[in-house]
């Protein structure tokens, strides 16, 4: 039995790979772990919806689930924070170093070449 976090992750992966919204039963069929109880899938889908990562729509008696945003959008969100480009300069993360552009990058590039040549 996988942990809840692991399960959330595989379910998101399944839904990201699909072009249409899926029902809990369809997700259950696609998941690698066949022994999973249908209620567990439902629980995880519900959790992900409450966290805002999934949208659900009524389809007859079942719900259909689809990702709220693409995987790339979430990666981009994390990268914006990682590169300190959200503009709020909070202390949420500590970063190694930041990129520099324009003529200043040229100075750094020269310093790097010198170092590598030595």
């Amino acid at each position: 039995m996988k942990g809840l976090g692991e399960l959330e992750r595989s379910i998101m992966d399944i839904l990201w790979a699909q072009s249409t919204a899926l029902t809990a039963r369809e997700v259950g069929r696609l998941i690698a772990d066949r022994d999973l109880a249908p209620t567990t899938v439902m629980t995880v889908l519900d959790r992900l919806t409450r966290k805002g990562f999934l949208h659900r729509t009524r389809d007859g008696r079942a719900w259909r689930y689809a990702p709220a945003a693409t995987r790339d959008a979430y990666v981009a969100e994390l990268m914006l924070e990682a590169l300190d480009m959200t503009g709020d300069r909070s202390a949420a993360l500590t970063r190694f170093a930041q990129g520099v552009s324009g003529p200043e990058a040229e100075i750094l590039r020269r310093a790097l070449t010198e170092l590598e040549d030595e």
């Binding site: 590169l83 202390a91 970063r95 190694f96 170093a97 930041q98 990129g99 520099v100 790097l112 170092l115």
Partner: protein
């Protein structure tokens, strides 16, 4: 009256001291000592400036800031009746204190929330790399390496950083991030970031925050160089600096390159250590600052 005057003088001294300290040159030779002094300046400035107003305000009670405030809160009548000036000082002092506390708390909560969201997303979209156990990898071509601090800190690198750096350089970057985790540099930054949000127009606060940001990077570099080659750390820094696949954030342009070169220079050619006397002097000053303001809050001169 003396207490209020001394606290006001102390607040002014901290303000002026901070202003001078933003351009101090010795800080890069002893980043940890400098960070300590910055923290001491910040704490005593906050306590002294609010304390000065409150000390004046609770004068009618004649029993010091803290006891005076308690008497005020419990509704005891003062020895001397209130006059307009003392009421104004009371309102101003309490407002300033409330704003300071509220700003710090808000910043703390916002930071925790941002981290929680970041962590949740990481759990969904980052993956492990067999080469780097314990490190989360993000699929993005730009170079990024950072740490999400907390009780269970996570070090994250992007695919871009992985392809940019050699194995030794990556080890150096990870040593640097591990230093941030170990020394809880996020907690050092938090109050300065909060203060900056509270006083966005203040140049001293802005400079102080920028200084502290640079100093914690230098402190992390210093710790990392014990476990990796400083040269590899320097080349990793330069590679990161030149990788700039993303446009630089507003207003960070000149400072970014300058700070990066400063870090590279001190990795390659470490300056002689700060003389013992200066170092102890700075520590003694910090301790004096941090102890004197609470003392003045409790005892009346």
């Amino acid at each position: 009256m003396t207490t209020a005057a001394v606290l006001a003088a102390l607040a002014t001294a901290c303000g002026l001291g901070s202003w001078c300290f933003t351009t101090a040159r010795w800080t890069s030779r002893a980043p940890k000592t400098a960070i300590l002094l910055w923290q001491a300046l910040g704490v005593s400035w906050g306590l002294a400036s609010t304390g000065a107003m409150l000390a004046f305000a609770v004068q009618p009670y004649g029993e010091g800031v803290l006891h005076g405030l308690v008497s005020f809160a419990t509704g005891r009548s003062p020895l001397v009746p209130w006059d307009a000036l003392h009421v104004v000082a009371m309102v101003a002092g309490l407002t300033a204190l409330a704003v300071l506390v509220a700003v710090l708390l808000t910043a703390g909560v916002q930071t925790l929330r941002a981290r929680h969201r970041h962590r949740t997303l990481l759990a969904l979209i980052s993956h492990d790399d067999p080469v780097l156990p314990g490190v989360r990898v993000l699929d993005h071509p730009s170079a990024a390496a950072y740490c999400v601090p907390g009780l269970r800190s996570q070090v994250v690198v992007s695919q871009g950083a992985l392809s940019l750096l050699s194995k030794d350089e990556m080890a150096a970057v990870l040593a640097h991030e591990a230093a941030h985790v170990r020394e809880r540099h996020d907690l050092v930054l938090l109050p300065f970031a909060a203060l900056r949000r509270a006083l966005p127009w203040s140049k001293v606060v802005r400079d102080a925050q920028a200084q502290v940001e640079l100093l914690i990077e230098m402190a992390a570099d210093d710790r990392a160089r014990r476990y990796c080659s400083p040269r590899r750390l320097a080349t990793a820094l330069l590679r990161f600096g030149t990788a700039g696949a993303m446009p630089t954030p507003h207003g960070m342009l000149g400072v970014g390159a300058h700070n990066l070169m400063a870090r590279v220079d001190r990795l390659l050619k470490p300056a002689p250590e700060l003389p013992m006397s200066l170092r102890y002097g700075a520590v003694a000053l910090s301790v004096t600052l941090v102890t004197s303001t609470p003392f003045l809050w409790i005892y009346q001169l």
